[in-house]
């Protein structure tokens, strides 16, 4: 009973906050379910929250939605599945959100997205790169290109440039995302006829990878493919070089390894580290330049691809609200989101394909002097 009193107070406070806005405005509630506490998930969650909130404020200031006002409701699920479900239920039934952005982790998505699907509330993820996310239903979208769209391109580039014959893999065995990234990497290596000479694993919280890397060094592979989050990847790269795995062994990473943290933690040893991404910071378009500048101004740090993808998600929503003529019918909103085509976005133009995946051309990025730059052919 205590809980319901608390909920009442909370919603009363919320109502008071909204009523201060002009009466003619119709709020469009957007749930932002991103982990901002609770370990490495927060690294990605915070970036996406920043990106989404920046976009919401920009759109509201621009007045391009007329009487509609976007209202971001951020909730932290701490990367915990049970809490993601709690939050989804409340956002859908209590806050009556028109759309949910998130959640940060794929495991949370598998538990919480079915609720939104059932209730007919669109969900747009901007960091889930595991396979099977959009298979959960026709209300589930993502602006983050899945690993299977990104990695084959990276490998093709590396193959063309270095013609490797052998590869070693190391991945986080207790991480859903990395386990599925590993499968994608393995399949791509096999289809490129590159022999896998060593496969090693690590677990969350590990800091010493030297035993695995010593084994890999003994197998002497031409390339090393890491399935790890940014902080893990940074340490693996650094320890690999320290153990004497030569620079001629090219190191490739997963999409989730892209973070400004990587260069900071790995330093010069990260030079030559190769990844694929749907977005990169130097992308030369007026829209992207404006985004990067606004982000830097507001948060005094550089955005990464997750911030960019969350930013794009909000613009997708705004565009769809306009075309659907409001949010009174979420089915119409869903159809409008699905029909997103050639929307001007920070990585050129953005469209959803028939499976609600982003139709972007992934770029190959190489680390050089602490920055990811577009790989030269």
């Amino acid at each position: 009973m205590k809980r319901s009193v608390f909920a009442l107070l909370l919603s009363a406070a919320g109502a008071m906050a909204f009523s201060s806005a002009a009466l003619s405005e119709t709020p469009v509630n957007i749930g932002i379910v991103q982990a901002t506490s609770g370990g490495s998930a927060a690294l990605y969650g915070l970036m996406q929250k920043n990106g989404a909130e920046l976009a919401i404020d920009e759109i509201n200031t621009s007045g391009k939605l007329g009487d509609y006002k976007l209202v971001g409701i951020h909730q932290d699920d701490a990367g915990d599945r049970g809490q993601s479900v709690n939050i989804f239920q409340r956002l859908i039934n209590q806050e009556k959100v028109a759309v949910i952005l998130g959640p940060t982790l794929a495991t949370s998505a598998f538990a919480a997205d079915p609720l939104a699907q059932k209730a007919g509330v669109p969900v747009i993820a901007s960091s889930n790169t595991a396979p099977g996310i959009t298979d959960m239903g026709d209300y589930i979208f993502r602006t983050s290109p899945p690993e299977s769209m990104v990695f084959p391109g990276v490998l093709a580039y590396v193959k063309k440039k270095y013609s490797p014959k052998t590869a070693a893999q190391i991945y986080g065995i207790d991480d859903t995302l990395m386990k599925s990234a590993y499968a994608v990497h393995k399949k791509a290596l096999e289809s490129e006829d590159i022999k896998i000479v060593a496969t090693e694993t690590f677990q969350k919280g590990d800091v010493d990878y030297s035993a695995q890397l010593t084994k890999i060094k003994a197998a002497n592979p031409d390339i090393l493919v890491i399935g790890g989050l940014a902080e893990e990847t940074a340490n693996i790269v650094r320890q690999a070089r320290q153990l004497g795995i030569p620079p001629s062994t090219v190191i490739l990473g997963a999409n989730a390894a892209i973070s400004n943290k990587l260069a900071e933690l790995a330093g010069a040893t990260a030079d030559g580290f190769t990844v694929g991404s749907g977005w990169f910071i130097q992308y030369d378009s007026p829209k992207n330049k404006a985004f990067v500048e606004a982000y830097r101004k507001r948060y005094s740090s550089d955005p990464d691809n997750f911030a960019a993808q969350a930013y794009t998600s909000v613009y997708v929503v705004a565009d769809a609200v306009k075309r659907a003529g409001g949010v009174s019918d979420l089915k119409k909103l869903r159809d409008a989101i699905a029909a997103t085509k050639d929307l001007e976005a920070n990585n050129g133009s953005f469209s959803f394909d028939a499976h609600r995946e982003p139709a972007v051309t992934p770029k190959v990025l190489v680390m050089k002097g602490g920055k990811f730059i577009l790989a030269a052919d």
Partner: protein
């Protein structure tokens, strides 16, 4: 009004489900703690129950109820298997051995891809668990615990908790009493694992680690290990707290830690002791005696 109730339920049903589920686990630990078994095997038992029941429903096509029973049974078997050697260990050694069990189960779950899906887990699990299933399970377990306390078995257990050497000399088979309670605790945790697996569409090895085991212990300890309602109160409190404190991220962790410390320090009989202040001194004396005996034995 009814519209308001249905909206409330739609918004908070998962929280209610989690409260009940955690209470169920809490009673599993309540039984173990009633014979001084500080068990960290909960995560392992829940994993056994969850994976077994999901295998039964998704691969073998079992109906829900037999699948939950199969999961609970497997966990009880696991408890019987490790109980025999582990129960000879005292105090912290027992705790550490049960912890090792949980971790071994987790690593097996991570590596046995064909059954558990490894770290990717199993998704699209049919949602069979209804709120009333959980409520019924909690009610049954409370009833069993209630009858147990008033039976000969219950008094024997109380004697074991007080001083197992004396209990032994009075003709109580201490080992068998402990073992049967440990198996019962495993059964309940296994059932809870099976119900949890069919609640949220997805399970993965990360759900059943050390954190789960430690949380499960805090429910009865915070609520009170001497009161029958203790685990329920403790579980509801611990489940609602992170939701109530959602207004802040890091502060939430700090406040939760501080509250737990405060309860342990100032309400040593658990939250339920607030209602029984009259007997407070007596029970504090009891625990002092129990602690002293245990130290003398180790």
């Amino acid at each position: 009004m009814s519209a308001w109730i249905s909206q409330f339920f739609a918004s908070y049903s998962n929280i209610i489900d989690l409260c009940l589920l955690n209470s169920l686990v809490g009673y599993g630990l309540f039984l173990a703690l009633s014979a001084n078994m500080f068990s960290l095997a909960t995560g392992g038992f829940m994993a056994l129950g969850a994976y077994c029941s999901v295998y039964c429903t998704m691969e073998l096509g079992f109906p829900f109820a037999p699948a939950v029973f199969a999961g609970a049974l497997l966990a009880a078997l696991g408890a019987a298997a490790i109980g025999a050697p582990v129960l000879r260990l005292r105090g912290d050694y027992f705790m550490l051995a049960t912890f090792a069990f949980t971790e071994v189960i987790r690593v097996i779950a991570l590596n046995w891809d064909s059954v558990t899906g490894g770290a990717i887990g199993i998704f699209s699990i049919p949602r069979h668990t209804e709120t009333w299933h959980l409520a019924l399970a909690v009610a049954v377990v409370i009833y069993v615990a209630y009858t147990l306390r008033r039976s000969y078995f219950g008094r024997a257990i109380a004697a074991v908790k007080q001083d197992d050497v004396v209990a032994q000399s009075m003709g109580v088979n201490v080992f068998m009493h402990r073992l049967s309670l440990f198996i019962a605790s495993g059964f309940i945790c296994g059932a809870a694992g099976a119900l949890a697996a069919h609640l949220n569409y997805f399970i993965g090895p990360g759900d059943f680690g050390l954190v789960r085991s430690v949380d499960a212990l805090t429910y009865p300890i915070l609520g009170g290990v001497n009161a029958l309602a203790g685990p329920l109160i403790g579980a509801i409190f611990t489940t609602l707290l992170p939701e109530a404190l959602r207004f802040s991220n890091q502060l939430r962790e700090i406040l939760m830690g501080a509250l737990v410390v405060a309860i342990v320090l100032y309400l040593p009989g658990g939250a339920m002791s607030v209602f029984k202040l009259r007997w407070f001194g007596v029970r504090a004396g009891e625990t002092k005696l129990a602690a002293a005996t245990e130290q003398a034995q180790s």
